[in-house]
């Protein structure tokens, strides 16, 4: 029992002593040891370290991991005086803990400085580019006084074959410029390395958005109209073709029918000629008889002279 108590007491004492004289530095941090407030040593490797108890030596821990700072979006002006709403984020980390500690003290301090510096650099960089460098497919007349290019392409509806040169947004380039622009000063002044600056969002400010929406709407209307008239055009074309086809079919049939009729008449004439030609005088005789029979119908009246050969027998009585 006594030994157990002894072990415990020793452990507790060792523990207390350890916390007074030793400290741990984690994987994710730097530690700066100050001797009566004067930074003496920066510890960059994790592990267990010795220090004199407060107030002789004290300890500042600084996160060495990459931090993300994402300030509120802001309005910027492009070179061609267009308002754009841009938000960005900065990935940064502390590389010189001592300088960091002296200049900005902690993350909150660092963030406000980073925001200010990066924001003004973003403004400067954006001011060197036109809106069309950010959004390369923008129409040249988009909300500006810039004179329209002669023969400019029609909005939202590029003519086929109107191949634009491969235009790519310069956003990555611009942000690369921002990153380079702020890199050295942040490093030298605050001991901060900028890992990346990226544009998170690009948009128009609210007061300009209404115009954007109106333009979008007009563009959609134009496209809708185009579809509808295309449909009508196609339908009319197909129908007209069908009508033509129909007329062709009928006319061809008529032509063929006339041909058949003509041929039949010709053939019949030939047959008649061949037959009647054998005795034309007899044919004429027969044909006359037939004609009498046809034109002397019931309501006809015939005047016969009494000395007609027809009545010869009747008259002579023999």
């Amino acid at each position: 029992m006594k030994t157990l108590a002894l072990i415990c007491v020793i452990l507790v004492l060792v523990g207390l002593g350890a916390t007074l004289f030793f400290f741990q530095v984690g994987e994710s941090e730097f530690a700066v040891k100050t001797f009566f407030g004067d930074p003496r040593r920066t510890i960059e490797n994790p592990g267990l370290y010795f220090k004199w108890p407060w107030p002789v030596e004290s300890l500042y821990r600084i996160d060495r991991r990459v931090a993300i700072t994402s300030p509120e979006e802001g309005e910027f002006l492009t070179m061609d005086k267009k308002n754009v709403l841009v938000s960005f984020f900065v990935a940064w980390r502390v590389v010189d803990p001592e300088r960091f500690l002296v200049t900005v003290n902690d993350r909150i301090g660092a963030e406000s400085r980073i925001q200010d510096i990066v924001r003004s650099e973003v403004g400067a960089q954006l001011g060197r580019f036109n809106l069309s460098d950010l959004v390369p497919l923008v129409e040249p007349d988009e909300g500006s006084e810039r004179p329209e290019e002669p023969g400019g392409r029609s909005a939202g509806n590029p003519a086929p074959g109107d191949l634009l040169p491969a235009l790519l947004s310069k956003i990555p380039e611009i942000m690369e410029g921002v990153s380079k622009g702020v890199g050295i000063s942040l490093h030298d002044e605050f001991g901060i390395d900028v890992v990346a600056v990226r544009m998170k969002r690009l948009n128009f400010p609210n007061q300009n958005k209404q115009a954007v929406f109106q333009r979008m709407e007009a563009e959609r209307e134009r496209i809708a109209r185009k579809y509808r008239s295309e449909g009508e055009e196609l339908a009319e074309k197909v129908k007209a073709e069908a009508d033509l086809e129909q007329a062709k079919l009928i006319n061809q049939a008529k032509q063929k029918a006339e041909e058949i009729r003509g041929n039949a008449d010709a053939e019949a004439t030939a047959i008649y000629a061949a037959a009647y030609g054998r005795d034309a005088e007899f044919y004429e005789f027969l044909r006359k008889l037939e004609a009498y029979e046809l034109f002397l119908r019931e309501n006809a009246t015939i005047v016969i002279p009494a000395d007609s050969p027809l009545l010869e027998v009747l008259r002579e009585g023999r």
Binding site: V25, L131, L137, V195, I302
Partner: protein, 316 residues
Amino acid sequence: MIGSRLTTRLSLLARSLLGATAVILLVALIDFLATGIWTIQQDEQGLLLRFGALERTLSPGIQFTLPYPLETVQVINTRETRKMPVGFRLVQGRDPTPVALDEREWLTGDTNVIDIKLMIHYVISDPALYLFRVGQGDADFLIRKSAESMLTATIANMRVDEVFTTGKIEIQEQTRRGTQALLDQIGAGIKVLSANLQEITPPGEVIEAFNDVSRAKADKDRSVQEADGYVKDRLPRARAAANKILQKALIYENNTLTEAGGRAERFTSLLTEYEHAKEITRTRLFLETLETVLARVEKIIVTTDDQGRAQVQIIR
């Protein structure tokens, strides 16, 4: 006597106090030692930290370490697929909730504003990097920010119609690749599995106009189909009418030729007969016809008397 009893009592009390303390101490000691026992699940990895410094990786199973604070273990699930919504938020992992405009609106290359919802799936591929390279809480935040920046840069190169139609695959692919590249550049220990577009919509203010384009497309299809129907109806009718015209002509042909043949034949046979006895046949035919004709007509017979005056006799 009394004093001795008191002493005895006090010593008993002291002894029991001591006993209680001993029990407490023992429990504390066991607890202390128990901080060095770890269970690591199948899909997890443990990072053993000695005095805060990374010592080694622990594999799944039961693991023993020195007690806290000498050694500690951080356990990370490296198999679980995690999700990070972009352009929307997850509430209890399910329902998309409305977010501020600036979180869901993007600008296309032809300056159309559109709403995009995208889901990033990722796993923690390197627990040490994940824990110690990027700030806690910042790591997941970083995925969203990276994806947003990739979307911004990608969509700035596209027309709005492309975004809605053929550009989707490219958006997903570029976002995935670009996000991974940035995470690798930073060394976040994260592997992006996929970037999936959940929804692309025009902003509410203009959605009606976009819908009308879809309707116009449908209208166009319908017009074409109607025209097709017209053609399908018209041509068979035309063919039938043409056929009828031809058939009529053929009937005429047949009639005409049959009649001609018949007549010719009749004439020929008559002629044969006639050639045998010309006068007789002639007279017979003439009288037969006369008979037929005169039998049905009104006849006026004009006779002349001695003075040459005409006398009319009407026979019905």
